[in-house]
């Protein structure tokens, strides 16, 4: 351990590893970080054991970037452990911040998911019925597996979180700015969203915006889009107006509608509900049957509007904040 160096940990709960890759995508900057920080724990990149964490004193870590959601008892256990051991615990990336894509599992149930994966899948041998158990006897030993929870939680549902870095994954430029802010001690008040803007994606998007009145919604492949014009106006679903800025408009700039990974705008309580209101507002019709027909062009609206934030929605979040 270098004297005066920041003690840093990174962990992944129910995660894909993309947030860890985003940290590495800061390229040479990571070498600068290595000069001022000791990475004490980072399962994907650095060898280590849970015992190393347990051996640390409380608050010994200056910073932990926790990515991934909380889906099983192991995630929860380590989340609580890291909270005790860290001065600053940051929910890093959409899954930790809002629940992320894994959060869509909350539209189903544990039983249904396990049945699909272990009992009903087309790639399984007929008659397969074994579902993972928390304790299994094997050769005279007891094998323990973490308990699979009935629903997905975001990090803040389980422990107090100091800061939230949104994104799936957070844009590398933003990762850099957050790390620099930590190093310089320039963070805002606790509980803030950092590494992001204070408006919505529309603010940074250079497409022209005018009157919005949509008579039909299109899947991206159904229409030759005008690259200069607002996607939503063209009937292409884009969550940008309901999504916090900071990602650099990477999806609309690639001619895809924003998918909302940076979470709700600063002034919004529930991203999906707000987008519901906005998209309904721009439907150009007053006739109920026509409205239903236009809405028919929206595939699985709920999954679209809550792709990254279902566990954080007003009806699912475990605590008010």
């Amino acid at each position: 351990m270098g004297a005066g160096k920041l003690q840093v940990a990174l962990y992944w709960g129910a995660a894909c590893g993309g947030c860890d890759v985003a940290v590495l995508d800061t390229n040479e900057f990571i070498l600068e970080v290595a000069k001022v920080a000791d990475i004490r724990f980072w399962p994907i990149a650095v060898d280590g054991k849970y015992q190393d964490l347990e051996a640390m004193a409380d608050g010994e870590l200056d910073l932990t970037l926790f990515s991934g959601a909380v889906r099983n008892s192991e995630n929860e256990h380590i989340a609580r452990l890291l909270r005790r051991k860290s001065k600053l615990l940051v929910a890093f990336g959409s899954c930790a911040h809002l629940g992320g894509i894994p959060g869509l599992a909350n539209l189903s149930s544990r039983e249904a998911i396990l049945a699909t994966v272990y009992q009903g899948g087309p790639s399984l041998e007929p008659g397969s019925s074994a579902v993972p158990q928390t304790v299994t006897a094997v050769n005279g030993y007891e094998l323990e597996l973490p308990a699979f929870y009935p629903r997905v939680y975001r990090l803040a549902d389980v422990v107090d979180v100091d800061y939230f870095v949104p994104g799936c994954p957070p844009a590398p430029a933003q990762v850099k700015s957050v790390l620099l802010a930590v190093v310089k001690g320039e963070l805002p008040a606790r509980g803030a969203v950092v590494g992001a803007g204070e408006r919505t994606v529309c603010d940074d998007c250079t497409r022209t915006k005018s009157a919005k009145a949509v008579k039909r919604f299109f899947r991206p492949w159904e229409i030759i889009q005008d690259p200069e014009r607002c996607l939503l106006e063209q009937g292409i679903l884009c969550l940008g107006s309901a999504t916090r800025s900071g990602c650099g408009v990477r999806c609309p700039n690639s001619n895809q509608g924003c998918r909302g990974c940076y979470g709700p705008a600063p002034g919004a309580v529930d991203q999906g509900a707000k987008f519901l209101s906005a998209i309904s507002s721009i439907i150009d019709s007053k006739e109920p049957r026509e409205i239903e027909a236009i809405l028919g062009g929206l595939p699985d609206f709920v999954s679209f509007a809550y792709r990254f934030g279902l566990p954080a929605s007003r009806l699912q979040r475990r605590h008010g904040g």
Partner: protein, 570 residues
């Protein structure tokens, strides 16, 4: 925010509230709510002592929020806001909990009603904690007034204003002024000549340089807000006139019920069955006669044609009874030998001089025959040998017998109904129609000429069937209101409007199309949208529609409503 000091006042409203809601229990409950500094009750909070109690507590106890649990805010929100303002507290820091119209008057279970009153009060307390002081704005008041309709009401209103020094733009759809009254000969009960009444008005209108008349014209669009409306007037085919006006009086009148719809009266088939208006035409021509020129020996007048009927219109058209008696008199004087029968359901003789008129009619030997509501006198052609043209069969109520009366001339007292273009007018000026198509006033008892759209007034029969005195009274009332407004010089715009927070607005422009008043503008330079406060009516459509939560609906903010939701779910 400094410490909250909320005063909660529970009104007993005599026994209206107190006999169902346990006011004592409610007071005790309210006193324990967060931020409540004092909870007091009184018999009638809206009374002077009641208001004084609030004012006193604001001053002496340093209250900075007030909740009054009482009747509907639609009754007394203004009263309590004024009491607060007079005591030095911003009126928007006052909330009401409706524990009368929406609680004690609609529930009989004392326990349930009290629990609900507690919930509603808690909702108001939590909400008022989030209320903010709001100040209004002032705007200019353009004195020019638009009057729609050149009938007796419109002419009266126009003159009242013009003679008060106000420029008036009078818009009439037809080729000439006068409206339905121009089709009438004499009026009941005093037999004044309608022509004389109108001629007097018309001359004064023509001579008054303050009045600009547009004939064969209609109002095609009205934008803006009170004191500052932009009206577009179109004449068929010809160019549009644009004029800035401060207020509008809608006096577009009525249309008579189409007698053809009542098939058992045979109008349109039997030549001597005519409507009241057709009879007026005959009276103006100076001779009462049958279709073939003969003088009638038997005349019958039938009341309530199209009115007071489950099949057509349920309401009473108000003027027909006295007009029918007028016809009875006129037939008797013009054709002394004629037997006049008057078939009525009830005799509505409510106005000044009307009961005397009725008595004189019966003394003049008109035969009054009462038939039942919902019943059908049937008219058919008489046989060749009968000494009359038609026979009317009716179940007469007072004798209890089914009788047949002869008639050579039948006058159908057709009722009033809303004009077919009333819906278009209502939409253009942004007022509402009731289920019968009449324009809706701000309050049926207390505010009969104003509407819920500030600056737009209604007068005369377009609001409901009425006689000339009432039409004239309403026209003068509307004119008087406007003159008072003009005298004040400026208008005050409510402090409640929507506001875009530019720090949160990203210029997505989803709100732009949501405003029915075009009160939202987009700035191409700053790439942000903003609301014009004076044009905003505070409906909240943009507030709810903004995907970024960047628009604040003053006095109906998200925070206030969330707090109220949490409060009522105790």
């Amino acid at each position: 925010m400094s410490e909250l000091r909320i005063g909660v006042y529970v009104c007993n409203c005599g026994t209206n509230i107190a006999h169902v809601v346990d006011a004592e229990a409610l007071l005790a409950y309210a006193a324990e709510l967060p931020g409540v500094a004092v909870a007091r009750g009184y018999r009638y909070m809206c009374s002077n002592p009641g208001q004084e109690m609030i004012s006193h507590d604001i001053r002496e106890l340093g209250l900075n929020r007030v909740v009054v649990a009482a009747c509907s805010p639609r009754m007394h929100e203004r009263t309590f806001r004024t009491a607060c303002r007079n005591a030095g507290l911003n009126p928007y820091l006052c909330e009401m909990a409706n524990i009368r119209e929406q609680c004690s008057w609609v529930h009989s279970d004392r326990a349930a009603a009290t629990e609900k009153a507690k919930a509603l009060t808690r909702g108001a307390v939590l909400r008022v904690a989030r209320n903010e002081s709001l100040e209004g704005l002032t705007a200019d008041m353009c004195p020019t007034t638009l009057v729609l309709g050149g009938g007796i009401a419109g002419l009266t209103a126009a003159l009242e204003l013009a003679e008060g020094g106000v420029p008036v733009v009078l818009v009439e759809k037809a080729e000439q002024l006068g409206g339905n009254l121009a089709r009438v000969d004499l009026t009941a009960p005093y037999f004044y000549s309608a022509r004389d009444l109108l001629r007097e008005r018309l001359m004064r209108v023509q001579e008054n340089s303050n009045v600009t008349v547009h004939l064969r014209s209609q109002l095609t669009s009205l934008t803006g807000f009170v004191g500052n409306f932009d009206a577009e007037i179109g004449g068929n085919g010809s160019s549009t006139t644009s004029v800035r006006v401060g207020n509008v009086i809608v006096a577009t009148g009525y249309r008579e019920f189409d007698a053809e719809r009542v098939t058992h009266f045979g109008w349109g088939k039997l030549p001597n069955v005519i409507t009241s208006f057709e009879f007026e035409c005959m009276l103006r021509g100076g001779r009462i006669e049958m279709k073939d020129g003969r003088l009638p020996q038997y005349a019958a007048i039938i009341h309530c044609v199209g009115s007071r009927s489950a099949e057509f219109h349920g309401y009473c058209s108000r003027v027909c009874c006295m007009t029918a008696l007028k016809y009875a008199h006129e037939i008797k004087s013009a054709v002394p030998g004629c037997y006049v029968s008057d078939l009525y359901i009830d005799m509505h003789a409510f106005g000044k001089g009307c009961e005397d008129f009725y008595r004189r009619s019966s003394e003049a030997k008109t035969l009054f025959l009462m038939y039942g509501k919902g019943e059908r006198p049937v008219i058919r052609r008489a046989a060749a040998g009968d000494d009359c043209d038609m026979l009317i069969e009716v179940d007469e109520q007072l004798s209890g017998e089914r009788i047949e009366i002869p008639a050579d001339l039948v006058i159908l007292m057709v009722g009033m109904e809303a004009r077919p273009d009333a819906a278009e007018v209502a939409h253009t000026v942004n007022i509402s129609q009731d289920k019968d198509g009449w324009f809706i006033e701000s309050h049926p008892k207390l505010d009969p000429v104003a509407t819920t759209t500030d600056g737009v007034y209604i007068a005369g029969t377009c609001a409901s069937p009425k006689d000339i005195p009432d039409s004239v009274a309403q026209a003068r009332a509307a004119a008087g209101r406007i003159l008072a407004r003009i005298a004040k010089g400026k208008i005050e715009i409510d402090g409640v409007f929507a506001e875009v927070n530019e720090a949160l607005c990203s210029g997505c422009r989803i709100c732009n199309e949501l405003c029915p008043y075009s009160a939202i503008e987009y700035d191409l330079e700053t790439r942000r949208s903003h609301v014009i406060p004076a044009a905003c009516k505070a409906c909240g459509a943009c507030v709810a529609g903004c995907p970024a939560g960047a628009i604040k609906g003053r006095h109906f903010t998200d925070a206030q409503i969330f707090a109220q939701i949490e409060g009522v779910l105790v």
